[in-house]
C-alpha cells in the first residue's frame, strides 16, 4: 500500500514535502507502485511514463533542496485525462483514430500545472472523445469503479475519478461538457468541479462541444479542487474564449469554509423540477440528510423553479452533437491519425473515419450532422439555441432567490456494466448535470454518503452563478468538513 498516497490530499502531501516527511521521488514511486498493482483491476490509466515521472520528481526534489521550489505543491503528481495534451505524450482521446498521435505541446492547463511544479502523470481513460457517461465507450477497454468493479466509474472522465478514488494519484484533471467531471466524481466518491465557462483555457483540450467544454479538477477534497482550479485558471491568449481574468483564488475560500464549518445564512435553492422524476431511494435519502445538515449549519433552504429543466437533455444533445460534428470533421487522418488508404482522397476520409471512430462517436457525429443539415437547421439547432437562452434565464431568475443551488448529481448511484445499453437511457441519466454546461456557470459534486442498497457512494451537487467559485467552494468545503 502506498504510504504517501493513502487517502492523502494534495495539501497534506504539500505539508509533508515542506516538513521533509517524504520527497517527490517517494510520492511518484508510490504512484507507480499503485498503478502497477492496484490499477490492474481498475484500468484507470491507459499508459504512464515511469522514467519521465521519476526524472521530473528528482528535479523537483533538487529545486526544493536548493530553496527554489516553484510552489508549495512542487513535486506532486496530477493525473491527466487522455483528451488533454501533454507534450511528447500520446493524446488519443481513447480513440483508435488517434491512438498513436503524440502532442508536440502542453495544454495551457498542463503548462500552468508545471509552472507550479506539479508533475503531469499518465494518461487517464475516458469515453472516446468524452462522449459517454460510463467509460464503456473507450476504444482501449473500460475502467472499473474502485468501490465495486462490476459497476461503471461514470464518464466521461471515468479514469480520472477512479484513479483519485483508488489513491493512484492525489488529484487529476478531467473535462466536463455535460457532467463528465461531476458525474464520475459522484459515482466514485470524490470531489469534481466544473468551473465557469472561460475560467480555464481550453487550449490543448481536444474539442468535443466548444461552447460547453471546460477543464476542471477531480480531487479528494474541496480544498484540493480549489488548489488545482487556482493553478490552471486565468487568461490565455491561445484561447480567445478564455475570460481575461486573473487566476482564481478559490483554495483560500475553501480553507476558510473548512475551518469555519458554518453556512452563515447562505440560502440554498432546491429546484422543484429536479425532484419530480424518479430518484433512487438512496439518493433521495441522502438529499434529505444533506438538507438537514445544511440547516444545522445555519444555511437556509428555499424551493426554486427551473421551468425549462425538462428540455435540457434535448437541447444538450442537439447543441453538443452539432458542435461535435463540426469539431470532429478535422479528424481526416491526413496530417495525423490512423489513415486507411482508399481509392481517392475522399474515400480515404470515409474509410479512416468509419474505421477509426467508435459506435457512440459515429452516432453523435451523425446526429449532429443531421440536425445541422439543410432543412433541419432552424427546427433543431436554432430552436435549441433559443431554448438554451430560456434555460440560462431560469438560472438567473433562481439566483434572485438564493445564493447557491442544491441538487442531486445523478438520479441513481453507479450502475452496472451493460445496464444502460439504449443510448437515450444513457443520455437521460445526465439530466441533473447538463443544464449547468448550457448556462455556463460553475458547479461541484461532493461526496455526501453511501447508498444502502448498493453500498455505492452518492454525491450532492452545489451550483453557483458564473465566476462565483469562491462562494461555491467555501460552502462546499464547510459542508464536507462537517459531514466528515
Amino acid at each position: 500500500m502506498a504510504d504517501t498516497l493513502d487517502r492523502k490530499t494534495v495539501h497534506e502531501l504539500a505539508a509533508g514535502l515542506a516538513e521533509k516527511r517524504w520527497s517527490s521521488v517517494e510520492i511518484v514511486k508510490d504512484c507507480l507502485d499503485a498503478v502497477r498493482t492496484r490499477d490492474k483491476e481498475i484500468h484507470a490509466f491507459l499508459k504512464f511514463d515511469a522514467d519521465d515521472a521519476l526524472r521530473e520528481a528528482a528535479l523537483s526534489d533538487e529545486r526544493r533542496a536548493a530553496g527554489k521550489a516553484l510552489s508549495a505543491y512542487d513535486g506532486i503528481p496530477v493525473g491527466i485525462k487522455d483528451n488533454i495534451a501533454v507534450r511528447d505524450t500520446t493524446v488519443s482521446c481513447a480513440s483508435k483514430l488517434l491512438e498513436n498521435v503524440v502532442s508536440p505541446y502542453d495544454a495551457t492547463a498542463v503548462a500552468k500545472l508545471r509552472a507550479r511544479g506539479f508533475i503531469p502523470f499518465g494518461r487517464l481513460n475516458m469515453d472516446e472523445f468524452a462522449m459517454g457517461s460510463s467509460c464503456e465507450n473507450s476504444a482501449f477497454g473500460r475502467t472499473m469503479n474502485p468501490r465495486d468493479t462490476s459497476r461503471v466509474p461514470g464518464g466521461s472522465s471515468g479514469g480520472s475519478a477512479a484513479a483519485v478514488a483508488a489513491d493512484l494519484v492525489p488529484a487529476a484533471l478531467g473535462s466536463d461538457t455535460g457532467g463528465s467531471i461531476r458525474q464520475p466524481a459522484a459515482f466514485c466518491g470524490v470531489v469534481g468541479l466544473k468551473p465557469t465557462y472561460g475560467r480555464v483555457s481550453r487550449f490543448g483540450l481536444v474539442a468535443f462541444a466548444s461552447s460547453l467544454d471546460q477543464i476542471g479538477p477531480l480531487a479528494k477534497d474541496v480544498i484540493d479542487a480549489g488548489i488545482i482550479l487556482d493553478t490552471v485558471s486565468g487568461k490565455d491568449e491561445k484561447d480567445s474564449t478564455c475570460l481575461p481574468l486573473d487566476p482564481a483564488s478559490s483554495s483560500a475560500a475553501a480553507m476558510e469554509g473548512a475551518e469555519r464549518r458554518a453556512l452563515d445564512g447562505l440560502v440554498f435553492g432546491m429546484p422543484k423540477e429536479y425532484f419530480s422524476g424518479p430518484l433512487a431511494p438512496g439518493v433521495a435519502k441522502i438529499m434529505e440528510q444533506t438538507v438537514a445538515q445544511i440547516r444545522s449549519m445555519g444555511g437556509k433552504i428555499v424551493d426554486v423553479s427551473l421551468p425549462h429543466t425538462k428540455y435540457a437533455v434535448a437541447v444538450y444533445y442537439i447543441i453538443a452533437t452539432a458542435e461535435a460534428s463540426a469539431n470532429l470533421a478535422r479528424f481526416d487522418a491526413v496530417r495525423y491519425g490512423r489513415r486507411i488508404d482508399g481509392a481517392d482522397l475522399v474515400d480515404t476520409y470515409f474509410k479512416s473515419r468509419g474505421a477509426g471512430f467508435g459506435q457512440e462517436v459515429i452516432r453523435r457525429i451523425l446526429l449532429g450532422t443531421y440536425v445541422l443539415s439543410s432543412g433541419y437547421y432552424d427546427a433543431y439547432y436554432l430552436k435549441a439555441q433559443k431554448v438554451r437562452t430560456l434555460i440560462r434565464r431560469d438560472f438567473a431568475e433562481a439566483y434572485k432567490q438564493c445564493d447557491l443551488l442544491l441538487t442531486p448529481v445523478t438520479p441513481a448511484p453507479a450502475f452496472k456494466f451493460g445496464e444502460k445499453s439504449d443510448p437515450l437511457q444513457m443520455y437521460l441519466s445526465d439530466i441533473f448535470t447538463i443544464a449547468l454546461n448550457l448556462s455556463g456557470q460553475c458547479g461541484i459534486s461532493v461526496p455526501a454518503g453511501t447508498d444502502e442498497a448498493t453500498g455505492m457512494p452518492v454525491g450532492v451537487q452545489f451550483l453557483a452563478p458564473e465566476l462565483e467559485e469562491n462562494r461555491l467552494l467555501r460552502a462546499a468545503a464547510a459542508f464536507e468538513a462537517v459531514r466528515g
Binding site: V334, R335, F350, T369
Partner: protein, 101 residues
C-alpha cells in the same frame, strides 16, 4: 409519436463516414428514437427569444497581427501517416491527372 424519417446513408455521406450497410437499420433506429425525443422542443414557445451560441459574454477578442514561429513543425510532421521528402504531408490525388509524389 411519429417516427423520425432519417436517411442514414445520406447523413453518413455528409459526415464523410463509411458505415457498413448492415449497420444502417440499427443506426437509424437509434437516431430516430433520439430525434423523436428532441422533438419535444416543438412545444416550447420561443417567440422573440434570442439564440445563445455561447456561454461566455465575449466578443471581438483582438491580438496583434504578428507572425510567430511555434517551433513545432518537425514534431507535427512526425504524426503524419506519410511524408514526401520528409517535409510535406503525402495525400492521395485531389484532382484527376495531377502528379503525386
Amino acid at each position: 409519436m411519429a417516427k423520425a424519417d432519417i436517411d442514414v446513408k445520406y447523413v453518413a455521406e455528409l459526415a464523410r463516414l463509411e458505415l457498413p450497410p448492415e449497420r444502417f437499420a440499427a443506426v437509424e433506429r437509434d437516431l430516430a428514437s433520439i430525434v423523436d425525443y428532441i422533438a419535444e422542443l416543438n412545444e416550447v414557445d420561443v417567440t422573440g427569444v434570442e439564440p445563445t451560441a455561447h456561454a461566455a459574454a465575449l466578443s471581438n477578442v483582438w491580438r496583434e497581427d504578428a507572425a510567430t514561429d511555434s517551433g513545432l513543425r518537425d514534431a507535427m510532421l512526425k504524426n503524419a501517416p506519410a511524408l514526401v521528402n520528409g517535409c510535406l504531408v503525402k495525400v492521395a490525388k485531389v484532382l484527376p491527372g495531377e502528379e503525386s509524389n
